[in-house]
């Protein structure tokens, strides 16, 4: 009984999933919370990177993006650097057109894959 209480005191309240350093997008899926921020901020025709936090940490994260209405993705394949503890840096992204883009987060763990999409609009 005493051990259970100990664990409860030190377990994160709702497993805080945050990115320090400013506002970020937060996505919820049945298994995961994803928080991400683009740097530099999104604009048409400029390379950008994503800082991503995923809770709980999957064994693998893949990130891509596409324009569903245009039926095409980016001209670049992003690379994902695992920084440990559910933190990632994704590099090499570029949105080359204005309009609606969808980020695609693919999370793998325990032989299962979960996909989370998030739409953004660029002018």
């Amino acid at each position: 009984m005493r051990n259970w209480l100990w664990l409860a005191l030190f377990a994160p309240a709702a497993q805080a999933c945050e990115l320090p350093g400013g506002p970020a997008e937060k996505l919820e899926s049945p298994k995961y919370t994803i928080v991400y921020r683009a740097a530099p901020p999104l604009r048409v025709g400029g390379h950008f990177a994503l800082e991503v936090a995923v809770c709980p940490a999957p064994s693998e994260l893949r990130v891509d993006a596409w324009m569903p209405e245009h039926r095409h993705g980016m001209n670049y394949r992003p690379s994902v650097k695992d920084r440990g503890g559910g933190r990632y840096r994704v590099e090499g992204l570029l949105f080359h057109m204005p309009g609606r883009w969808e980020f695609l987060f693919e999370l793998r763990a325990g032989g299962e894959t979960e996909r989370v999409a998030h739409a953004v609009r660029l002018e």
Binding site: H72, P78, E123
Partner: protein
Amino acid sequence: MKRAIVLLLAALAPAALAFTDAEKRAIAAHGPWPPAFAPDPSNRASGNRDAIELGERLFFERRLSANGEHACSRCHLPERNWTDGEARALGLARIDRNTPSLNNVRLQRWFGWDGANDSLWAQSIRPLLDARELGMSDVQVAALVRGDADLACRYRKVFGILPLKDEAVLVGVGKALAAFQETLLSGRTAFDEFRDALLKGDQAAAAAYPDAAQRGLKIFVGKGACNVCHIGPAFTNGEFHDTGIPFFIEKGRVDPGRHAGIQNLRASPFNLLGAYNDDPKRSTATGTRHVVLEHRNFGEFRTPSLRNLVLTAPYMHNGRLATLRDVVNHYSTISPDRLHADGEAILKPLNLSEGEAQDVVAFLESLQDAGGRYRRKAFAPDCR
């Protein structure tokens, strides 16, 4: 009475068309102009005055061709917005593609119609070595620089040394040529004046922009969605598209466009991931590191800038379309059947009326600057 006169005068004064907030945001994306200069970190000669002068001399240097008769300026003529007016360029032999303008070239991410180079200096090396263009070798370029006291002096002034390795001398020549081309920037246009006036809410100044151009601009950012690809201050997204222009060159030969461009980029010893990049951080190599080769790249060509395009006819990657009106008609009547089945679903016939097509041409013509910015200097062998 006085109030009535003021109202009457206001009613008679020319006024800009009404633009929605969304249209204004889309128009704002095409400026400001001119952009500030930012040196290219991959080229230590970028922005260097001595390099610019050396590059300018080399640009007009006929000894930089295998027959001693051609220079970069054979195809890139200053008075034609740095193009040549030919459908397909003519160097030592006929080339498969139209000569692209060099105005605003430093703003590009990829260079050439197929983006086979990722820096302006690497792109400047390409025609020197192409047997159909200037037909030189690194050995010949290095021998010319070493053997000409003035060029050798200027080279040392820029780079400190004249390397023993021929290929390294060639790269220096490319970097000096790039430093010169970075100075080629088109001037402000009637569109730029309109854009700035519109954003400031200066109706009187905005009204000076011709009505036809304003209507054409509305189509450009609206019904035509031309700004999906022709976006940003230089009116290009810098990427590659299949626009339904046939890529057959002649019987048995096709131009693979971006598909070959990416492969050539990766194979080039002069790409930004290579040893000749002067930036140890490789800060401009993100695209090279991450670019992906796909089947749909076949027959894709880079979106050209639209600034000063009045002087760059004929148009498209192979000069197939003679006039701006032909270009507008192409997009007005394009058949989706001519596009890649697995490509982008962007283009569809715009079905413009006669008046709408004329308005779009009027808008495109308003992207012309006043001209006359470049003055070629008289060169003297006076390096000390």
